[in-house]
Amino acid sequence: MGRAEEPTLFELSEPGRHSWQLRTTGVPAWSADELVPDAHRRREPVPLAEVSERDLVAHFTRLSHRQFSVDLGAYPLGSCTMKYNPKVCDTVASLPGLTDVHPAAPARMSQGWLSLLVELEEALCAVTGMAAATFQPAAGAAGELTGLLLMRAYHDARDDRRRRVIIPDSAHGTNPASVRIAGYEVTTVPSDGRGCVDMAALRSVLDRDVAGIMLTNPNTLGLFEDGIEEIAAAVHGVGGLLYYDGANLNAILGVVRPGDMGFDIVHLNLHKTFATPHGGGGPGAGPVAVAEHLVDFLPGPRPVRLVHGAQERAASNGTGATAYGWAMPPRSIGRVHSWHGNALVLARALAYIRVHGGDGLRRVSERAVLNANWLRVRLSSVYDVPFDRPCMHEVVLAAFTLRRRYGVRALDVAKRLLEEGFHAPTVYFPLVVDEALMVEPTETESLQTLEALADAFERIAAEASEPAGVEAAHAAPRTTPVGRVDEARAARMLVPTFDARAHVGMQGDREQ
């Protein structure tokens, strides 16, 4: 990876340089003061960088060399499903017939998009065992909030005011944050000794004030909540709903469906399970699928296949072909996106699903679970495995023995792995495990890669028994574009923009 420091674009800037080229239009060249009233007119242009196209390319290419990615190597970041992202999906997402469609174009002029969305909705319903879906949520957390508002609308429609939502202590942080923003109070239930929801604790907090429960299954420990039937019966028994956080759906494709487990609301992370990809932190897509009794509350308008009638004939331009349109669910919670969701991400997901098909999606989960278990068994003699039983698509290891014996922490292991050419696992999550190292190899890593990763894990642990190894672990990473960064300074002397450097005395850094 690129180790040379890269100046910001603003430091590369030289007044008078330019990259932009715009179309020759022939439109009369009125000046700004002829076009904009004086009170509103900007006096100086917005200062941006001024660089040549060649410098622009060099800058962002050099930055890209300072960035690890799935395409570069294994990225076993637990809970994030960093699998290989098929290139064919890039081609799909750049088809002009998809990219050049205005979101407000009438349905008759966007039949391809509507057909695509309906097909994807049906596929996701097949995978989840749900009745219908909305594509508006742009990411998992947006899906969570949408799902919780659906929960609220469902209860409100019954004049049934409920105030609490139950979340296991192993849940992702987005769950409690979404619950609060949805206007509910969080009730946390502990995990039991097996790493699953403590059934007795759950029963003790269940009453008719509970709107529902949010569960990830398999949970964030990589374990299948095998008491799910009992949980579902108990929650439904007090009139609550079950929300499925789809973060870990990659483990169960074609094996078991959330709908069959008793879930009422499901969000999916298409950037995880369907490889759309992650984009350095988005865009994702967080569609929400629901059971029949919640369909009327979905956000809208929704893409629908039109039944035979005048509207369909008009939409198909009189050809009689299957036609698509928009429909607002009768008791919709309303919009949750400016338009229809992250549409190009949805197109990528459909291409991924069509390549794999039902049979291929099942193989995806089989291999993901196989890979995770292989790593679990291989590493269980070297790292702590707090819940050492068959896992699903990810395994939570821990470094508490390494820390106790040698002072080498999960963070140190993670930083050493970066030197070994791997991305680090997720560390210090889930919160219920001390010194957690959450490893999700995904199905697209080969046995050779797993062996190399395991070798690296073992080497780091073995070295920790020597003082030099401990020192190396604490000093890691030394081969990466930068070493450990001073996070405390970043927060204490906040520099959120290039212009803020001047205020904290950083402008002289480069000369020092």
Partner: protein
């Protein structure tokens, strides 16, 4: 069996033997038998990439709108996206990474986002910008959450000049937050703000005041009035600003905005049927600890080298859980990187030139269109810069259908944004007959003249 799985049969056998298993089904022993899906997923078998591409290509080909010359805007604009921006933003290092949890190997994305934050802050005139939100609507929702937290009051005055879909999102999420959304009507394209101070008995004073600049009908509103209202109530002033028009207009910060949000699609993202787009968010330093989403800051590494890292993380959901300032995790980072590249390509003069060209095209088309019998202005003589609302003698949907036959996406029918019957921005007649038209820097004089000729025919009864 097309897929991307590397396992050979021998690998699988070796790995199962290592685990002491005889069959892959045994991997799922924790899943209760009664719940397991018998017979597999109800989906067709997989098909090879070329077949999938043919299918997706056919779907793409069924979108007639893609071939129309675009005069539609309403928050989604047909701006130039040059080859260099497509090439750089498509680099797999940016595309296939995730949130920079390990800054030592994520300096590329972190620095690009730092540069993006700098550019967004310069556009708004405010000192802090976050690493992106989902879209304009989500940025507005987060701004209102920030504003109500800052002011301690739940009442939000929102100009009906804010995009109808964004207002719809505010209403949806107020179902959870409990915010009281008061939509302020437009008269001739300008907000008719309630009396200040609020007379007793007419509800709570606002904790947040929201205005769009220019508003969604294209009009330039007097933001000084909005600042005075915010001052009178110690309310947070939120401006939903068009970032392209910002190339010509006084910055929202100059007008006194506390929070500026916007839709960043115009900076390098194709129309894409509405997404992925980019939520722009910036605020004052006083509010930085209430900032939603991620923030990249500059720091140093152990050797004193310049380095970037996500900072003020204690606001975020994975640390703060139910006390977090927002629930955002995955945002639109690749779109933020794309915007940084596009703004790097445009530079100081390029952005100003794009804004100017949009305003010129808009002026030319508007002047000529208002000379057509059957076209009248919908917003009086309130000044516009890059978008205009026209009243067409026949329903706007009819105009759009007729113009499509001539090769144009004529604009957006107001009814498709406000719903039938209209809203505070347009009454029922204006909704049915209102046509929102934009002219970007990509439209040539020939295209505009052909559009006008087609419009002349399309508005006849």
């Amino acid at each position: 069996m097309p897929d991307y799985l590397p396992h050979t049969e021998a690998d699988i056998a070796t790995m199962l033997a290592f685990l002491g298993l005889s069959d892959v089904d045994e991997l799922f022993s924790a899943v209760p038998q009664a719940l397991r899906l018998a017979g597999g997923l109800d989906l067709a078998d997989g098909e090879p990439e070329p077949d999938v591409l043919a299918h997706m290509g056919a779907l793409a080909g069924a979108n007639r709108a893609a071939g129309l010359v675009c005069f539609a805007g309403a928050g989604a604009y047909d701006h130039e996206v040059p080859a260099v921006v497509r090439a750089l933003s498509g680099r797999s290092e940016f595309v296939t990474a995730y949130t920079p949890y390990q800054p030592e190997v994520a300096q590329g994305v972190l620095q690009a986002v730092f540069e993006y934050q700098t550019m967004v802050a310069r556009l708004s005139g405010l000192p802090v910008a976050n690493a992106s939100l989902y879209d304009g609507a989500s940025a507005l929702v987060e701004a209102v959450n920030l504003g109500t937290a800052a002011s301690g009051r739940q009442t939000v005055w929102v100009s009906s000049g804010v995009h109808p879909h964004w207002r719809a999102c505010l209403r949806t999420f107020s179902g959870g937050s409990g915010h009281r959304i008061v939509e302020v009507p437009l008269v001739d394209g300008s907000s008719a703000w309630p009396q200040v101070p609020v007379p007793s008995g007419e509800g709570e004073a606002p904790g947040v005041v929201v205005v769009a600049y220019p508003n969604y009908l294209g009009c330039l509103e007097d933001l000084a009035v909005v600042r005075r209202i915010a001052d009178a109530h110690r309310a947070t002033m939120v401006v939903a600003a068009d970032p392209v028009a910002a190339g010509l207009l006084r910055s929202p910060a100059e007008w006194g905005a506390d929070v500026v949000v916007g839709e960043g699609q115009a900076f390098g993202m194709p129309l894409s049927f509405g997404g992925p787009y980019l939520g722009l968010f910036s605020c004052t330093l006083a509010q930085v600890r209430r900032l939603p989403g991620r923030l990249v800051g500059e720091t140093v590494d152990v050797e004193g080298r310049r380095a970037y890292v996500t900072t003020l993380r204690a606001r975020e959901q994975d640390i703060r859980r139910e006390k977090a300032t927002s629930n955002v995790c995955t945002n639109q980072t690749l779109m933020a990187v794309t915007a940084a590249i596009q703004l790097g390509w445009l530079g100081t003069l390029g952005l100003a030139e794009v804004a100017l060209r949009c305003a010129r095209g808009t002026r030319y088309l508007r002047d000529a269109a208002l000379g057509i019998s059957g076209i009248t202005p919908l917003t009086g003589d309130t000044p516009v810069v890059r978008e205009m609302a026209l009243r067409t003698a026949v329903p706007a949907r009819t105009v759009i259908d007729r113009m499509a036959a001539e090769g144009f996406l004529a604009g957006v029918a107001l009814e498709d944004l406000t719903g039938a019957g209209g809203d505070g921005s347009a009454d029922a007649d204006a909704a049915a007959h209102g046509l929102l038209v934009t002219v970007t820097e990509r439209r040539t004089l020939d295209e505009i003249n052909a559009y006008l000729a087609a419009l002349d025919k399309a508005v006849r009864p």
